[in-house]
């Protein structure tokens, strides 16, 4: 069973634990500047929104890569960068509509979320449950449950 990162911005406090965990997992340094997940602060609105790769089924980045350096991990569903093959041409960073593939000037390669091989560090580190790792077919489950809970007792639905 594949799982997906499920992000609920309403629970995010902007603490960056996810960015710290991500950079530590991938770079062995606490360095938000190299995190594969980023938290955006919308100051005027008072909102914090974590954002990262959704692991598209038809992945633009993978299709655009001229050297086949982006591959599918069949177990996790993640699109992973093969560092040894990546030439740093950045075409994938242009192809991705969401901006979640980025160039790393330290290594000359690109970086993106790879779901940490199936145990994403960001989700483990998040103190509020804003980032969870759930059944890929059921990312709407909690939201459905919340709406279901609002249904008044005895009400019947007519389609």
């Amino acid at each position: 069973m594949q799982r997906s990162l499920n992000i609920n911005p309403a629970k995010c406090t902007g603490c960056l634990q996810c960015e710290l965990a991500c950079s530590y997992e991938n770079e062995a340094l606490f360095n938000p500047a190299k995190s594969r997940i980023r938290v955006f602060t919308f100051h005027q609105e008072g909102r914090f929104v974590p954002y990262t790769c959704t692991q598209c089924a038809e992945a633009w980045c993978m299709r655009a890569c001229p050297v086949d350096a982006i591959t599918l991990n069949r177990l996790t569903g993640a699109k992973e960068i093969l560092e040894a093959r990546c030439v740093g041409c950045k075409v994938c960073t242009i192809a991705c509509p969401f901006g979640t593939v980025n160039y790393n000037q330290t290594t000359g390669k690109v970086i993106k979320c790879d779901l940490c091989g199936g145990d994403p560090a960001c989700a483990s580190a998040c103190p509020t449950g804003a980032i969870t790792y759930v059944d890929a077919d059921q990312t709407g489950y909690e939201r459905m449950r919340a709406w279901a809970e609002k249904t008044s007792v005895g009400a019947s639905a007519t389609a």
């Binding site: 406090t13 603490c15 606490f30 360095n31 100051h43 609105e45 008072g46």
Partner: protein, 617 residues
């Protein structure tokens, strides 16, 4: 390790910038941040120097855990000699700037001298340069922040800046970072502005590493996070209500200083409480509080993000204040509200926004306004002096106007910017100033919480709750419950809290963790990250060393034990309502015992054995 080992030294007079190695020996004795920067300050300036003169220095310092994943590990402090108190100043702030500075590769920045023209310091990893700030001099912190982001086309730049109040010489001006986090107390912003340094803008991409034992560090960090999450205060109370969880509690116990500390309970407390911030407003149906927010790496997230009702008189014609920004924390809500008798939550929020926008301390500001209101009601101040404003207790209009005047350093705002001590002296009533060593005391009345009287009287930066927060024990029962109305045992409690706090303030962590953590929770995190053996006992000893170093600086600056006292009102006018009815502060019963426990002489000077034991020269 965990320290980067690099110090940035900026000579503003000559525009010279250099890097130097951190003194590792001092780091072993003073840890980082508050302790280590104070050691540098003590070694480098004459304690008698003019705080606003060329000789004073200003240090921005991180701790060894700043920038790491340790919960709340994003703190930095601003250390200098205070223009408000003449004592050592050390103001601690969260937000994201401290971690960014560490990420850029620096443990601290030491600013010296004074620039001939306004400048800001831009740090991009190991590159640092001073750039002209003429275009932003004379503008607010918020404008400066926006200008710098545009100027450098970098949304990820972190900014600390001073506002117009600091430029105008307000003696309690703050350094504001990330728009609404403040190194707030003792006028550290005033010193920064006196050096013609408008802002520090930082971008770090190097990462924080140098962890001695990474595996053990992550175990300790995760264990610490769990303790915070499972604790009722750090896991529930603070995220839900922020420090404002205290407003109703402290009012109930009869320790909420009200109307310039004439009373100890405020009839409007519930209207300005953390609970009230959740209530939908009648006007627009939205609550004051939009969400809570975390500083860097913080898993508590006590920060308040608030709005003001668009129809409120303070902002109805000013759309620039209609968005969200940093909302009321308890001390601010107390100073702007209970102490001035104002129970209009939106007016308090507006005054708080203005404090952040132009960088000044809401505690000192509110307390000074409260003193002005008392003087006004006594007939000492007239409308002619206040610029036509009726300065009565309870007047939201007067509060809002006062904030605007101090922000810009205009008219009566210049007087209010002097702080309560100089203000009350100027108008002939020094006893009405609610200060110790020139700094306004905060939101806990020592008549109802006796330990706080000793806390204020002996604090090394003038009256302050964040030097030994005995409220934790006396009201909340952390780590053990003590009787708030009794002075018994408080000398030992205050000393223990002072020492532990000095260590926490030197680590890069937030003091609020200590609602749940003891030094036993903190030591494993420091020990896994830093060279050397760091147990709880050693941290307490480091804390005691720091406390004595600060004391020594103050004594050499000419601030003697005679100033370890409280405003006359707290010592002679009994509480009139609540559980503390009939009580005054029993400071005299606690102070001699405190001196003795500290190993100080009867006039408050560390004796030779104490100095030798702590390795103070």
């Amino acid at each position: 390790m965990a320290w980067t080992g690099n110090i940035l030294r900026v000579d503003l007079t000559n525009g010279r910038i250099g890097s130097e190695a951190l003194n590792r020996e001092w780091a072993r004795d003073y840890l980082g941040q508050r302790g280590l920067a104070t050691k540098y300050l003590v070694e480098e300036i004459d304690p008698k120097c003019d705080p606003l003169g060329l000789e004073n220095k200003l240090i921005m310092a991180t701790g060894p855990l700043t920038g790491t994943m340790a919960s709340t590990g994003g703190r930095y402090s601003v250390i200098t000699k205070s223009p408000l108190t003449g004592c050592v100043a050390c103001s601690n702030s969260g937000g994201f700037l401290g971690a960014e500075l560490k990420n850029a590769g620096w443990d601290m920045i030491i600013f010296e001298g004074r620039s001939p023209h306004p400048v800001y310091l831009l740090i991009q990893d190991d590159r640092a340069e001073l750039l002209p700030a003429d275009e932003i001099w004379g503008t607010s912190v918020w404008h400066t922040d926006e200008w710098l982001h545009k100027r450098h086309q970098d949304p990820l730049l972190r900014v600390a800046a001073v506002g117009r109040s600091a430029e105008a010489g307000c003696l309690y001006a703050a350094v504001i970072n990330d728009l609404h986090r403040a190194a707030g107390r003792s006028g550290v912003g005033t010193v920064m502005a006196s050096k013609h340094l408008k802002a520090v803008a930082v971008r770090g991409t190097r990462g924080v590493g140098n962890i001695k034992d990474p595996r053990r560090f992550m175990q300790a960090v995760n264990a610490g996070k769990k303790v915070l999450a499972d604790n009722a205060v750090t896991g529930q109370g603070l995220p839900a209500y922020g420090t404002q969880v205290l407003m109703n509690v402290i009012n109930e116990v009869g320790a909420l200083p009200t109307r310039n500390v004439r009373e100890v309970q405020f009839e409007g407390a519930s209207k300005i409480s953390g609970e009230a911030m959740h209530e939908p407003r009648p006007s627009d149906g939205k609550p004051n509080l939009t969400t809570n927010a975390g500083c860097f790496a913080c898993t508590i997230a006590c920060g308040r993000i608030s709005t003001i009702d668009k129809g409120h008189f303070t902002v109805e014609t000013k759309p620039e204040y209609w968005g969200n920004s940093g909302g009321l924390e308890y001390e601010a809500a107390w100073a702007l509200g209970a102490d001035t008798g104002v129970s209009d939550l939106d007016a308090l929020t507006y005054a708080n926004f203005v404090c952040n926008e132009d960088g000044f301390d809401p505690i000192s500001f509110g307390s000074t306004v409260a003193a002005a209101m008392e003087l006004y009601e006594m007939g000492v101040l007239t409308q002619e002096l206040t610029g036509g404003v009726e300065f009565r207790f309870g007047s939201a209009e007067a509060l809002a106007r006062a904030a605007e005047l101090v922000a810009k350093g205009e008219g009566f705002g210049r007087d209010l910017g002097l702080g309560s001590k100089r203000f009350c002296a100027k108008y002939g009533h020094p006893d009405l100033s609610m200060t110790v060593k020139g700094q306004e005391f905060p939101a806990y009345d020592p008549r109802g919480i006796q330990g706080m009287g000793l806390t204020y009287a002996t604090s090394n930066r003038g009256a302050c709750h964040l030097r030994s927060y005995t409220v934790a024990s006396e009201i909340l029962g952390i780590p053990v419950k003590t009787d708030p109305l009794s002075p018994l045992g408080k000398a030992g409690l205050v000393k223990a809290f002072q020492d532990a706090t000095a260590a926490v303030d030197s680590s890069g962590l937030c003091l609020f963790t200590t609602f749940a953590w003891t030094l036993e929770d903190i030591a494993p995190q420091i020990d896994a990250a830093c060279e050397g053996d760091w147990g709880a006992g050693r941290l307490a000893e480091v804390g005691e060393r720091i406390w004595n170093l600060e004391r020594d600086f103050n004594l050499r600056a000419g601030v003697s034990g005679a100033e370890d006292t409280l405003p006359k009102r707290l010592l002679t006018e009994a509480a009139k309502t609540g559980p503390a009815t009939g009580k005054v502060s029993a400071l005299q019963e606690m102070l001699p015992e405190y001196y003795q426990l500290r190993g100080w002489s009867s006039d408050g000077v560390p004796i030779r054995e104490t100095r030798e034991r702590l390795g103070l020269s």
